[in-house]
């Protein structure tokens, strides 16, 4: 981050290490997230994403390294700091017999300037379930309640650990819209996800963690040199599928158009998707993609 000092960063991590017994979960992670950025942390299960995020949330102690969130070391998190941070944990919280609006209202009480609980319920798309007991919610709906609890304090930094697990495609799109709105109001967001389309849709930058180390940090468009990768032009000719790898796809298409004298049958031009690049990276790092 040239030009941004340590103090100005919303999240700053260097040399972070954490082991459990003889298993190294995080083996030296560096991370710098400026205020207002949406940063997505990608990586297979067991790569160290959740351990890293939970250290940043003040839930776990670290073995080594420096960590700062909003200028405070989360290991010494006080109530003031908790007021400014929103957390959506991995896994679903189960509030059993309590109703959705009761839970959100109750959590709002803990903060000095909470959002209106009804509005938060509306924003996560649970208005119709506001009066339902939480044990009657579907998995995706319970997850939305978690998101509501994470944003009810209007946090400056929001941690989202695999937030959309269990969402149907429409709910996921709605959730993306919510995250974009939060980002527009200046919320810094650190997100972990297994969905590459989610990272691509939301993140300003993505970081890939494998075996406890950050193997790449980039914008989604440029991850792994994706923007420099050759394009694949594909079309149908003489009863078969033809493809051509090229750095100059426009020229190829013009040539094809001229030779076909108009429409090229079943023409596509593709570049590697974020998922292709990601899977290649993880594969090269010797970890099974999860």
């Amino acid at each position: 981050m040239p030009g941004v000092t340590h103090e100005e960063l919303a999240i700053s991590v260097s040399g972070l290490r954490k082991s459990y017994a003889d298993n190294v979960a995080v083996a030296g992670v560096d991370l710098a997230v400026p205020p207002g950025e949406v940063f997505a942390l990608l990586g297979p299960n067991g790569a160290g994403k959740t351990t890293t995020v939970e250290i940043l949330e003040g839930f776990r102690a670290r073995d080594a390294g420096t960590v700062s969130v909003l200028g405070v070391d989360p290991a010494r998190a006080d109530r003031d700091w908790r007021r400014r941070v929103g957390i959506v944990l991995q896994g679903t919280g189960e509030f059993d017999e309590l109703k959705v609006h009761e839970v959100v209202r109750h959590f709002a009480r803990f903060y000095p300037n909470p959002a209106d609980p009804d509005e938060v319920i509306e924003r996560v798309g649970l208005s119709e379930k506001a009066n339902s007991r939480t044990h009657t919610l579907s998995g995706g709906q319970k997850r939305r309640l978690d998101v509501a609890l994470g944003i009810v304090n209007q946090p400056e930094v929001l941690f989202l650990d695999e937030p959309t697990t269990g969402f149907d495609p429409a709910a996921r799109r709605e959730f993306w819209e919510l995250i974009r709105q939060l980002s527009h109001t200046g919320t810094t967001i650190l997100l972990t996800t297994h969905y590459l389309d989610e990272a691509e849709a939301l993140a300003d930058r993505v970081g890939v963690i494998a075996r406890g180390t950050m193997i790449a940090v980039s914008t989604p468009a440029e991850l792994g040199g994706r923007h420099l990768a050759t394009a694949t032009v594909s079309w149908r000719e003489g009863g078969g599928q033809r493809t051509e790898e090229t750095d100059r796809p426009t020229e190829v298409v013009q040539r094809l158009a001229a030779s076909f004298g108009g429409e090229v049958p079943e023409l596509t031009v593709t570049r590697p998707t974020l998922e292709d690049v990601y899977l290649k990276m993880i594969g090269e790092n010797g970890q099974e993609p999860a």
């Binding site: 957390i87 896994g91 017999e97 803990f110």
Partner: protein, 286 residues
């Protein structure tokens, strides 16, 4: 309000932070709602002691346990009723919390509270308020049944009501703190009842709930005297059984001073165990 104050307030948005006390009351309220809406807890914690009282009461009938001819006579049912009230208090404080807190920990509820600026003590205060309300309901139900079916006399002096109040409150605080502390023992919600129920049963058998305490073997009496339940039962006997029955106690008196001392010691010890043993997250979560 002067213009200057208004200006200041606009410059710095008014912080409407609830006080710790109102948070604690709200926490107690939400715990209470959760409890009364959970059928299993209602049945096991509140109705089970009543059912036991009815069953044992019917079995013992009117077996007289005072020496022949002594007046007033005391029946085994009356003796048993005082033990059941103490057990009801233990059920709402100890068993209830030692079983439900591990479940809440498993379900991520505690961790979510931990991620908020809620002061830690508010969580415990909420549990204690909820338990106090439940214990009140439990004791009233047991007293009603005992008065209706087993000729239990309600205390007839202010002195006895006072003893009833402090024995119940001290006993409840001791049981509640031990329940919170003991919630750290069960590693999973599923293990809760398996580790808690035997302890409750052993204490009930050895503390003079199901059997007369002074008939028990000496070693058993000594064992039970280490724990609060025996002293709660004894304190309650002083409230509900005649003065003359004190002669049947092991020490020849109800030993109210010692009852207060042991229960207070358990309150302090329970608090220490709470601070040491309580866990917000599961082992797996670190």
């Amino acid at each position: 309000m002067s213009a200057t104050t208004t200006e200041k307030e606009t410059a710095r948005p008014a912080v409407r932070q609830a006080s710790g006390l109102s948070l604690a009351l709200a926490q107690g309220g939400i715990e209470f709602k959760q409890f009364v809406r959970t059928r299993e807890s209602l049945v096991f914690t509140l109705l089970f002691p009543v059912m036991l009282m009815l069953i044992f009461g019917s079995i013992f009938g009117s077996v007289v346990i005072t020496p022949p001819g002594e007046i007033p006579a005391v029946t085994l049912s009356q003796y048993f009723v005082t033990g059941m009230i103490a057990s009801g208090i233990m059920a709402t404080g100890f068993q209830n919390l030692a079983i439900t807190i591990p479940i809440e920990r498993d379900r991520g509820v505690l961790k979510r509270y931990r991620g908020t600026p809620m002061p830690k003590w508010v969580f415990f205060a909420g549990k204690i308020l909820c338990v106090a309300a439940l214990a009140f309901v439990s004791v009233v139900m047991l007293l009603a049944v005992a008065v209706a079916f087993y000729d239990l006399q309600l205390p007839d002096t202010g002195q006895k009501w006072f003893t009833f109040a402090w024995v119940s409150v001290l006993g409840l605080i001791a049981c509640t703190l031990c329940g919170i502390a003991f919630s750290g023992v069960a590693k999973t919600g599923r293990a809760g009842p398996a580790v808690v129920t035997p302890i409750a049963l052993i204490l009930q058998f050895t503390s003079g709930v199901f059997f007369e305490y002074n008939d028990l073997p000496h070693w058993m009496q000594q064992f039970a005297a280490l724990f609060p339940l025996k002293w709660m039962c004894q304190g309650l006997r002083s409230v509900f059984l005649p003065e003359s029955f004190a002669a049947q106690e092991v020490a020849g008196s109800y030993e109210l001073g010692r009852v207060a001392l042991v229960l207070a010691a358990w309150c302090v010890g329970g608090l220490v165990l709470c601070l040491v043993g309580f866990r917000w997250t599961t082992k797996r979560e670190g």
